[in-house]
């Protein structure tokens, strides 16, 4: 499932909803890994009030689908979902949810992280922050690996 959503979502309801729609996962998927990215109220030491998420419709869908398909090819996944917010977002709101299911845990951990890193480096989304004074475009993403 790949979705770009302009309304707030609750990842901990979206995951069981996906599972309910894919009952074959229940006894076959021994492992599920999930990542949720949430808007913080601080960035680069400045308080952020709201975030506006812009994207390139068409290209976003296409790239998220390509990322998901590549992950399904590289790891024996039984299911994968990517859900990404657009529009106006407030502190504490989830921005992105990536969840994957597999028989064993190595594939789940690795595919979940791969999808998230690929999404951050390739999917055409942009963030504009509203600060106490003025606005600014976020210029680049934080690194995804600590080394």
């Amino acid at each position: 499932m790949i979705e770009i959503r302009s309304q707030a979502f609750d990842p901990w309801q979206e995951i069981p909803a996906y599972q309910a729609a894919h009952p074959e996962l229940k006894t076959r998927a021994g492992a599920s890994a999930a990542f949720v990215g949430t808007m913080r109220d601080f960035n680069q030491d400045e308080r952020v009030d709201t975030l506006f998420l812009e994207h390139y419709p068409g290209m976003t869908d296409k790239h998220l689908t390509a990322i998901r398909d590549e992950a399904m090819q590289r790891w024996p996944l039984l299911g994968a979902m990517i859900l990404h917010r657009i529009g106006e977002v407030h502190p504490g709101d989830p921005i992105v949810l990536v969840a994957v299911w597999s028989a064993h845990r190595a594939a789940a951990f690795e595919a979940c992280r791969f999808i998230m890193e690929d999404l951050k480096s390739k999917a055409p989304f942009w963030k504009k922050e509203t600060l106490q004074q003025g606005e600014r475009w976020v210029e680049s993403n934080t690194p995804g690996y600590s080394n």
């Binding site: 913080r40 999917a123 942009w126």
Partner: protein
């Protein structure tokens, strides 16, 4: 005709709407930038032709959609 799109900070700088440009023979994606933006391309600008990432020397064909945008910043944290 070539359809030109700018996103995020480039959209604010060069106009919110889509722009249609006449196709010139041998036109590259960089040529589209020059014709649409009228100034040198800043560093780190990303380019897409028909929804796929390309380099500036990529040839442009009639009916193409060419997009310019800053580094992507999706996801969170």
């Amino acid at each position: 005709m070539v359809r030109v799109k700018f996103f995020a900070s480039l959209r604010e700088q060069f106009g919110a709407g889509d722009l249609d440009l006449p196709l010139r023979p041998g036109m590259s994606v960089s040529d589209v930038w020059a014709a649409a933006a009228g100034q040198p391309m800043p560093e780190h600008v990303l380019m897409a032709r028909n929804l796929e990432y390309v380099q500036g020397d990529c040839a442009v064909e009639d009916g193409d959609e060419i997009a310019f945008f800053p580094p992507v910043t999706g996801g969170a944290a």
